[in-house]
Symmetry: C2
Amino acid sequence: MAGELLDGVTSDPVRMGWMEGSPPPADRILLASRADHMRFPMIRWSYSNMRQFVPSRRVAAAGGGVAFERALDDGLGQVSFVPINGDEPITLEQSLTQAFTDGLLVLHRGKVVLERWFGVTVPETRHIAFSVTKSFVGAVAEMLVHEGRLDPAAPTSRYLPELAVSGFGDATVRQVLDMTTALDFSEDYADPDSGIGAYSAALGLTPRPVDYAGPIDLASYLPTIGKAGEHGVGFTYRTPNTEVLAWIVSRIEGKHFADVLSERLWQPLGMLGDADLIVDQAGTAFAGGGLNLRLEDLARFGEAMRMGGLGVIPEAVVERATHGGDPSHFDRNRYPQLPGWSYGSQWWISNNNRGCFSARGIHGQTLWIDPAAEMTVARFASHPTAANGANDPLSLPAWAALADVLSR
Amino acid sequence: MAGELLDGVTSDPVRMGWMEGSPPPADRILLASRADHMRFPMIRWSYSNMRQFVPSRRVAAAGGGVAFERALDDGLGQVSFVPINGDEPITLEQSLTQAFTDGLLVLHRGKVVLERWFGVTVPETRHIAFSVTKSFVGAVAEMLVHEGRLDPAAPTSRYLPELAVSGFGDATVRQVLDMTTALDFSEDYADPDSGIGAYSAALGLTPRPVDYAGPIDLASYLPTIGKAGEHGVGFTYRTPNTEVLAWIVSRIEGKHFADVLSERLWQPLGMLGDADLIVDQAGTAFAGGGLNLRLEDLARFGEAMRMGGLGVIPEAVVERATHGGDPSHFDRNRYPQLPGWSYGSQWWISNNNRGCFSARGIHGQTLWIDPAAEMTVARFASHPTAANGANDPLSLPAWAALADVLSR
């Protein structure tokens, strides 16, 4: 299926015909047993339909959610900009296809001003958010900190004694929140022998090798991660931190993380629809990246953060998530497109003069908030490359150009 | 876990502590890889949480559904009756525990008069309906017949040419609807070598043997079923008939069966919540038994049938599903507790003078409609024995006793 030759147009899942027909033709069926749902170009269909491939648990909305008002301005699609390292200007509309976008919502002052849907993704679709999930986890964890029920200075082992002998044992909750833990774990999506491979096998998002004898759930796997270096001196993006964080939250709340999300965010924020949270074989949430939600509900979370929490998320939590993290901990060589940024409370923080901050997930999942422009952008995508470095050159200047136009 | 020694009280899933804790203790975790979700007493938890174990697809409600009015009369729990083959009268309340009930709703004249929840099952729970699912499929198929888009006299192979060489090839749609097909397939849940075993392996509801080399989805499996005998002369309950029926419906509608259910029933009937429909590895609906829904939405379907379809289901469809089937096709030796009954359009029809009809699923899933008493009963259960013969002695006289009291 020579996926590498396909672009944003030719990989369109409707055009490819994935899963169409009863049954679909043999060469158009996506099988979880072949890990089709995690390989391009099939991801252009599967990322909008993840619960058909893996077990999941409901994150319940309260019902009666009200959609954002629309004040659509299709001219915004013609906003143009020069991609990072590019020569020629392109329009936002062109960039969306080039970035393998599945859905885009741009909100200005609380109203949707631009709305685009591609392929099989529609407003009701629960699209996988991947690591955008982490920022939900960060917000909920900070809510517990704010309530005095979670001590950021305490070692993780105070809450999870089973982690005492692991690399997390002497890391503080704050270090886990800000991902400054020093762990023997590499998160290189292009390297099959990296730590993320062992993590994925435990999680079970794709079939395990026939001779696999390792942990079959997250709670068995996380304590096996060792320490490498010194905690608290540098930011290194490692998904197991988020799994530990959600685990702590569930332990404190005495509830499944899906139920925590429902009670803390989905219900009080008036989300439009239930979300689907992927679970491992023991029923534990895939909190590092397993949230599947409506794009408008992602935008709603962004708007809540932009508006100081809307009485649901305490302002102190918003402040921490939007201005936290230490830029000196950020490796500028690793993130050349994010100069001066920091990572705090599971959020990506620009520290620029506009106050921009973001939730980011692989393959282009994005929540981008530009407070100065009173703008929130929510985007789902299925980019063939996992790392956001592949789409940032198209995306970051696009958001800046939109903010510029909306600020006029 | 000597499940056979546990009764309705001692097997309570809260009491057992299944899946409680973050993570649950090792001996309280239910693993799909061990098929825990299909074994008693673990089913008392899993049947209320099936999407955590298997892939599923959303059956979307329209939103804004309104709950039935409550006119609760707890005294109804004290209604007493003598179980079939029993000596002493017991109360309805006692029978619910003895039948391993998870939830019960009794409606009289459109209002809920009795409501009971047990174990981990709550109003928002999507509990597996097993073969109650078939009656939804039957209703939808009859709607297509009513619209002239499905010819009940046509052979199934007219709609599904891939079945031409199978046992279904020369069976008519009506024979499939009424399960009078003569197939080389035995549905004995207690026999691991029965046809239901091969069917289950194809479906993938439980792990396949390591050396399994058979079909991995329903569309590959169904054409392998042969013929044995003569179609149309006797009713034999075989789940693959329903899979074929749903397959025909999807082929005609050009839509996934979950979307057909949403458009034809969930949205127009104002169901309270989305349902979860289990799918096989190729994404095909498990139409013979894979619907997981709210108990009140099951009751709503029953009320629609009782009320002549409520403008959603044509009255002719209701008539066929409530008075169809040929009692002479019914094997009285096989169903000694259902004398004079028939099976038509995927419904169980009593042909008694009250006009009672029912949707039935293994382990006690029940929708019971007594038109004369203006009563609808919806029940979820997780009885250790699959076959309904195990709980009918407690259930059938209970519904009769309730109808008697409500008719006074």
